[in-house]
């Protein structure tokens, strides 16, 4: 629903104030159209969604007010959304798994591939291969991997491989124990190229004198990686990580096409639950409450992002 990038507004407002000091007509004239669009397409829907989340919202319209009922139900009485216990389950928990594993694996693999690639002659080829999945639409990625995971060795590539070792077939997407990991693996496959390309560019920016100096001082390659390369590209790493986290909180397409949240409800994520409750089930108030929770999860990430932009600006 109404989830987009708040920082756009903030940065615009602060940069508009700087030059003249006064808040002149000219500023208003230039900001007006953008501000109006934001108001209509972002601010209003966000508040509408907020209001709807305190309502039953049957059929997408305000019906009866229910206070915090939707939120209470989400956190205490809806195992599809959150089931505490061991191991925890539900859409919110799945999203936490996604944030932790998808983001860290993408960054780690991206970094490793970027560093390795700079040392070989066919660097461009490697980067092209790793980046290729980024050029495929998420829906197509999902369909490709549905075939890879297909639970028979005739159709499923992975099960055919297992078959060579007389293992399987395993229903990767059919079991609640494996489905989230199988999906995260697809997500990583699809996004690692993004991390690789950005981090590779950053690594190229490290001056060779620094690296040479370290080698002269006797640092080995592992030390160089952890003590020099990683700290020097920490800003690009955080850019990549934040972008991935924002993407993954909003994750929907992969889940929708590959499992539709199944088997049962075991691979749902927040955005999928929001869709499921609001549209097919028609509980718009409940769906709106999920949207608000999603927004609340995104806000800290956005604040972090905005702060970083500011410090960057100061440094420059």
């Amino acid at each position: 629903m109404a989830v987009a990038n708040p920082p756009a507004e903030t940065t615009e407002a602060s940069s508009a104030k700087k030059p003249g000091g006064g808040f002149g007509w000219a500023a208003l004239f230039f900001m007006g159209p953008a501000g109006l669009l934001l108001l209509v397409f972002l601010v209003f829907p966000a508040f509408y969604t907020l209001a709807l989340s305190f309502n039953r919202g049957r059929g997408g319209e305000f019906s009866n007010w229910v206070g915090f009922d939707n939120y209470v139900r989400l956190f205490t009485n809806d195992p599809n959304f959150l089931r505490l216990g061991f191991p925890p389950a539900g859409a919110l928990w799945n999203n936490v798994l996604w944030i932790v594993f998808y983001t860290s694996l993408c960054v780690l693999l991206g970094l490793v591939i970027a560093v390795m690639a700079t040392r070989v002659r066919y660097e461009a080829l490697i980067k092209a291969i790793v980046f290729l999945p980024m050029a495929i639409a998420a829906t197509a990625v999902a369909i490709i991997w549905r075939f890879v995971y297909f639970p028979s060795s005739e159709t499923g590539l992975l099960n055919a491989l297992l078959g060579i070792f007389n293992l399987g077939p395993v229903a990767f997407l059919g079991s609640p124990d494996t489905v989230n990991w199988a999906l995260i693996a697809v997500g990583v496959w699809g996004s690692v190229g993004f991390a690789t390309v950005i981090l590779s560019a950053a690594i190229k920016g490290i001056s060779s004198e620094v690296l040479e100096a370290a080698r002269v001082d006797g640092a080995n390659e592992t030390q160089i990686f952890w003590r020099i390369i990683v700290p020097m590209v920490s800003l690009p790493i955080s850019v990549v990580a934040v972008t991935l986290i924002v993407n993954v909180i909003k994750l929907f397409d992969l889940i929708y096409v590959m499992t539709a949240g199944g088997p049962g409800t075991s691979s749902r994520v927040i955005a999928f639950s929001m869709y499921q409750e609001a549209f097919p089930a028609g509980q718009f108030g409940y769906g709106a409450a999920i949207a608000i929770i999603m927004l609340l999860m995104l806000i800290p990430v956005m604040i972090f992002n905005v702060r970083r932009f500011r410090t960057e600006a100061v440094q420059m």
Binding site: R58, V66, V170, A171, P263, G264, P280, A281, Q283
Partner: protein, 438 residues
């Protein structure tokens, strides 16, 4: 304000149509929406069928056009049916008639005010009830108002098997639960897998549960369980789950064991019994299984009666359900615009003529018991007989429950070996919230 307008429109506008004759008591509290101003002459009917199902239904539309001269167009909507329908309604562009799978959706549309009550179409539920198989009018009744009527049904009380393999094994269909248990043991004793279970699709398990529960506890208990008054913790549900998993669908009796069954989807489950390399002997529930088994997806060479047949889900000793109490699934038809053409269509759909035109296509069973069994293709005549001979029918419980809590997932967990009691307690708490907030 809107409500007042609607009431006013109903009171003055087309009073002539709306039951002035006689049964005012029933119709007085029914609000009929205004007719849309710029509607054309024809009507648009939407559902989620394609292929053979679509062709069979288009024959009904042709019969309607021939009879009334009103052009009727079918719009298939294969995916995200409820979402698309809801969006069209909200956008002020609803189809005239929707054939809806699942009563949960119907209730939510009815309470939104998106569906026109049948009274507004001059279709009186009480008057036509005896044309339908007993129990089948109930599905379209929401909060005491009749909003829709069953359009097509399928029995969910069928156990499919291969007669030629049964005779090779020297076994015969059973007509009691205990008989079915010993039949299962017999087959297992000969080294074959008695049951194919498509446990990856939770709804196939809910069909199993519903059939077992109905035969154990009877029609009234079934209806209560799947209503807002249902108590999942009163022991009856647990008893039925433990009976079906404990006596029939044990890990040893199910092809592939627990894990194998949980990885088997619906059509694959059918293929385990009816493909050219079968690995199990029986598959329960759903009259539509035969059609899928004989399709290109599984094995087009099957001959009905020789390679594929079914026997009714048996009665349970000391159980409250009769052999002729059956659970069924199906789609329900509802009007969304209050137009004269739609009224004519809804009236037409309650006639045996419409039922017959549809039945000839062979993909469905008409809920109109006046349709001759002989008009059906041979492969579904037995299913038609079972349905028309039913003393009572109950709608698929899984499709009666409100959205959210997942009975199929509960049954998957129970099949995996989780404790049934706590599962049901948790389910009860979710389902009562879901009913309250629906």
């Amino acid at each position: 304000m809107v409500l007042l307008l609607v009431l006013a429109a109903c009171g003055n506008g087309d009073g002539g149509d709306n039951g002035d004759g006689g049964d005012n008591g029933d119709t007085a509290d029914v609000e009929c929406p205004e007719a849309p101003a710029d509607a054309g002459d024809g009507i648009v009917v939407t559902s989620l069928w394609g292929g053979a199902e679509q062709e069979a239904f288009e024959a009904v539309l042709d019969a309607f056009t021939e009879e009334t001269g009103i052009e009727a167009t079918y719009e298939p909507n294969r995916t995200d049916y409820a979402t698309v329908l809801r969006t069209r309604i909200q956008g002020g562009n609803p189809p005239d008639v929707a054939i809806i799978p699942g009563i949960g959706f119907l209730r939510s549309f009815a309470r939104d005010g998106s569906i026109v009550p049948l009274d507004c179409y001059d279709v009186n539920a009480d008057e036509i009830a005896d044309q339908y198989v007993p129990g089948m009018m109930e599905a379209g009744n929401v909060d005491g108002t009749q909003y829709a009527i069953m359009a097509k049904v399928n029995s969910k009380a069928t156990i499919w098997y291969d007669p030629s393999r049964f005779s090779d094994l020297g076994v015969e269909p059973a007509d009691t639960w205990d008989g079915l248990v010993s039949l299962t043991d017999d087959i297992a004793g000969q080294g074959a897998s008695p049951w194919s279970l498509a446990a990856a699709d939770g709804w196939t398990l809910t069909d199993w549960f519903e059939a077992t529960y109905l035969k154990m506890h009877g029609v009234d208990a079934y209806k209560t369980l799947f209503s807002a008054d249902g108590d999942w913790t009163d022991g009856t549900a647990q008893e039925s789950i433990e009976k079906m998993y404990g006596e029939l669908l044990t890990a040893d009796n199910v092809d592939g064991g627990t894990d194998g069954a949980l990885a088997t989807a619906f059509v694959d489950g059918i293929a385990k019994v009816f493909s050219t390399s079968p690995s199990a002997e029986m598959y329960c529930c759903g009259g539509f299984v035969g059609g899928i088994a004989a399709s290109g997806d599984v094995n087009p060479d099957l001959t009905y009666g020789t390679d594929i047949d079914w026997f009714p889900f048996p009665t349970i000793e000391d159980g409250a359900g009769e052999l002729t109490d059956i659970s069924y699934g199906g789609d329900i038809i509802a009007g969304l615009t209050n137009r004269e053409e739609v009224a004519e269509f809804m009236q037409f759909m309650t006639t045996v003529e419409a039922g017959t035109a549809w039945a000839e296509g062979g993909t469905i069973i008409s809920p109109l018991s006046g349709v001759e069994v002989s008009v059906y293709p041979e492969s579904v005549q037995k299913e038609a007989e079972q349905i028309y001979g039913a003393s009572n029918t109950v709608y698929d419980g899984g499709d009666l429950l409100p959205a959210g809590p997942d009975l199929g997932a509960l049954l998957q967990s129970a099949f995996r070996g989780d404790d049934v009691g706590p599962l049901l307690e948790e389910f009860q708490s979710q389902i009562s919230t879901a009913w309250d907030t629906e």
